[in-house]
Point group: D2
Chain length 309, copies 4
């Protein structure tokens, strides 16, 4: 397994978590490749840089996504197995991963920083909340460290590595690596090459550089995003403006927003006041919400989005 | 090639254009299958129908799309080749199509209705505009009819079909079908089986039941949509509310919208008036637009969307 | 997590390993669906059952694989995480998996049977060899059991489950599930819905019902294969005859085989003797091998395949 | 539309058919990239060039195909629409194609050379046979030329291009391009950018550089193959040896081949004689064939393959 130390001097690599990394090994194409492919559909002619920017932004705004497939990235990645289990779900990508059947898994385990040892979130069933503290923090950290060290020793013992425990067993054969690995915990590190086109990478980044993604995969996605930003600056900007930082306004919200705007405009009253008035007229917020087919949670998000709370 | 007449009595089939059809041959799963798959991730417990609806809507609203892959549809379709050329671009689907190498292409060509004989759109480079009229309408219709008939006769002549022209050629071998077909125009009909999962079908329908899609593929997509609506009514409703009829508000538009709402609320003036005031303060609409990083076209769409024009 | 006990009475389910299962939840199409799709390409006409069999075998023999995509299977599966890590690599499939972020992972770990506790294979870098015995067998089994039990206790302690260790920590928040799971070993069980078409399932089965596949995924693949065999008996038989149990003879081997056949036929000597003579003429087996561009390993496989060793 | 003349001086481009071309625009990776990705799975160590060759051949021989996905090619292609209809069926590729909705289709049609004007094959339902001759050849060529010219004139008339027919129609609007194109025959040329990885390109080349493929797509595939051969010479050689020029021997054929070899070896009679004897013993060739579960066609192929006819 490649260690961070082995690649630390290579400017293409960035450290991720405690022992992982992101390295951009190769890529094909940039903003110009997107434009080139799009122009075959939309017609040619010499265009200034400014028009290229306009074209890329037009493609992104209108979800004409195929020209973004013309740019390809190849990364060398190292991450804990539980992160890899999320990473691999992006199917439109090519993967070659370190094999625990062929090779011995190494003594590298993800040990979170103290600030990351967070409690279960109370309102988000899949998320993390406040940092642990005091004795619980210490216990958590020690448990993760102890399990990593102990399980690795068990793994070595099973495969009959001399660093493992002896148990005075006499002559030993060593359990097959493909079996012995089953005692390794999910924070053990793995390594892979990963190739993906820009369209699918934008999908990945939209999901994984997101506050709802598990922090560890966010950490992985961030340096990947930096490479995209550097190589395709115009596409990246368009991605931020029209996708990542854009908001989808549902049919229901749009109806409510339009009704509020109309009320405010025709009655010449402020937008916030319009909302209050419409709630009152409906007989309360719950009634207004139900009139527009929205759930309580959607109504709360609507208020937060448009600062009505 | 299957004709519309052969399937017209079969309730699974709907006529499309003049000689095409959509037939739902088989499907697997429905709203319950989406819920079943989602619950394996989110945890179980007996849930009422109402909660199933909430779950499906939650999945759609948050782009948790994999459970929608659990529903599968298989269609028998017939459409002109130029429509098939668009249809086939949806790669996440399975296709078996009539082969012009194996079989003789049949004398079926799409002849548009008069109302569809529209001029090139002036503002939309890829669209249709006003209906043709008078002599031009007649010429267009006659040309399409004549080309279809003449080319088919040429095709038959090439393959040495007795219905073709004789030319007094004496003994003939007949050109290979794979070659002869090259003289057929793009309105010749083809036939296929098409299998696709609901997630990818929603992508298809979002693009193809859309006023920017070519009318002929819209006509094909509509009865497909009707089948989805009937078999997965809750997923369909969620698709309409959170995807098809939702609006993506870009980062730029969101900033402007929030600024307008804040101005209106804090200054207690109507929303429309707020817009006018902000335009004036910026030194004109073009300045406001540029302040928020928007293009002229985006600004126009913004005004149209929120009825500010 | 669904336990084997919960589904044991359901005839659609089969137990796999100690706590896993394969359940066929739904499917669409069978041998007739393959024929139906193929006939749209190759032309129609009423055909007898016998001709359907011939058509399916023809498709398989000639790698006309798209009609096999028209059959779809949906399984409910339970397997250890290290098996899931192999399973998920088949990208042309749909997956919804139990989430350790949302839900508590359960106390179910794969404990191999004693006969499966095999040593590392000496000749196959990725495989298993002879069964362990005596004290080493006992140690291996105990280690896997102990790690499973201890790590689960650590997991419960981290999430502050009352079944975990107390450590007299006073008030506790409980580490987020998404973090705590990292101490679970790779033999912990997971559960999923899995949908795949027959073409891609044949790829899967060809790789996974194979002596080079890890035994645990073979065990999973076998009942899946049984379902395919039952639902598509003709396609299954064709798969066995023309794919799974067929042999690829390389250009090099084909040249050698043809040379041997020619020598045997023209010289009227037995095939085995022909091989010996040709080796001698070339100056030894290594020379013959090199003449035909083969590696030592290929030559050995050639001898084994055609019983020349 | 890009013409062949515009790119003829560019060494990356090769002419295909009469007006088409293949241009390699960009690529990422080569033989070394395959090795790099494979080594992450199989373990490292400094390896000589010779061992790299062995590894690539090992991967190909054992269908370990994922490392071949690490090489990516981007082509600029021009081909007739009926060829494009076959080309587009390879789904694991990225395409941006010239749009007949946005742009005017150009006056470029595929006119086959005289030697290509072949009759329908008598034994191959999807293939071409002997060349046409005399008057039929002339008629075929003239028909294709005439249809191309006439239909293009009709197309121009419909879109109200000044080169079209006037018909003295007075003021005209011009039919929308998206509609007018339906009168163009399938030999009209189209243009595209096409990006594909080496694994999927090998699939493509295996099918399309094949005597069963339509000649026109073979012509397209050949210069594509030349690029692959030049950039990845070791992978190409492995592809030829273990895939393209390899033979799949079915379970049935293998059984027969092994029986013949055994008979020849144990009875010390020539291979050809063994076949005859076994046929006689079975009561005839049809009986032997049926004993081994083979069809008549398979038996004929078996005889041809091993020179027994």
């Amino acid at each position: 397994m490649t260690t961070w130390e082995q690649v630390a001097g290579d400017s293409r690599y960035t450290q991720v978590l405690d022992k992982g990394f992101v390295g951009l090994i190769d890529y094909m194409g940039d903003d110009a490749a997107i434009v080139q492919a799009a122009r075959v559909s939309y017609g040619a002619g010499t265009k200034s840089v400014n028009e290229d920017r306009g074209l890329i932004r037009y493609l992104m705004r209108n979800s004409h996504s195929t020209p973004f497939e013309m740019v390809e990235f190849k990364f060398h990645l190292k991450m804990p197995i539980f992160v890899m289990r999320q990473h691999v779900r992006h199917r439109m990508a090519s993967i070659n991963e370190y094999s625990g059947r062929y090779s011995v898994m190494t003594d590298e385990f993800y040990i979170p920083e103290q600030s990351r040892l967070q409690a279960q979130s109370r309102d988000n069933k899949q998320g993390s909340g406040a940092q642990l503290h005091g004795q619980e923090l210490e216990m958590a950290l020690n448990t993760i460290k102890r399990v990593s060290a102990e399980n690795y020793l068990d793994y070595l013992s099973l495969i009959n590595d001399e660093e493992g425990r002896n148990y005075n067993l006499g002559e030993r054969q060593g359990l097959a690596r493909e079996l012995a690995r089953m005692v390794l915990p999910l924070n053990n590190y793995t390594e892979l090459y990963w190739k993906i086109d820009l369209k699918n990478l934008f999908h990945y980044l939209n999901l994984r550089v997101d506050s709802h993604a598990q922090m560890e995969i966010q950490q992985l996605a961030l340096p990947i995003a930096e490479h995209v930003k550097r190589i395709c600056p115009i596409a990246w900007e368009a991605f931020e403006d029209y996708w990542q930082q854009a908001t989808t306004v549902s049919r229901l919200e749009k109806n409510l927003l339009q009704a509020l705007i109309e009320f405010s405009s025709t009655q010449s009253v402020g937008f916030g006041e319009s909302y209050e008035t419409m709630c009152q007229k409906a007989g309360g917020k719950a009634q207004l919400q139900s009139e527009f087919g929205m759930s309580k949670r959607e109504m709360a998000e609507f208020e937060r989005q448009w600062k009505l709370a």
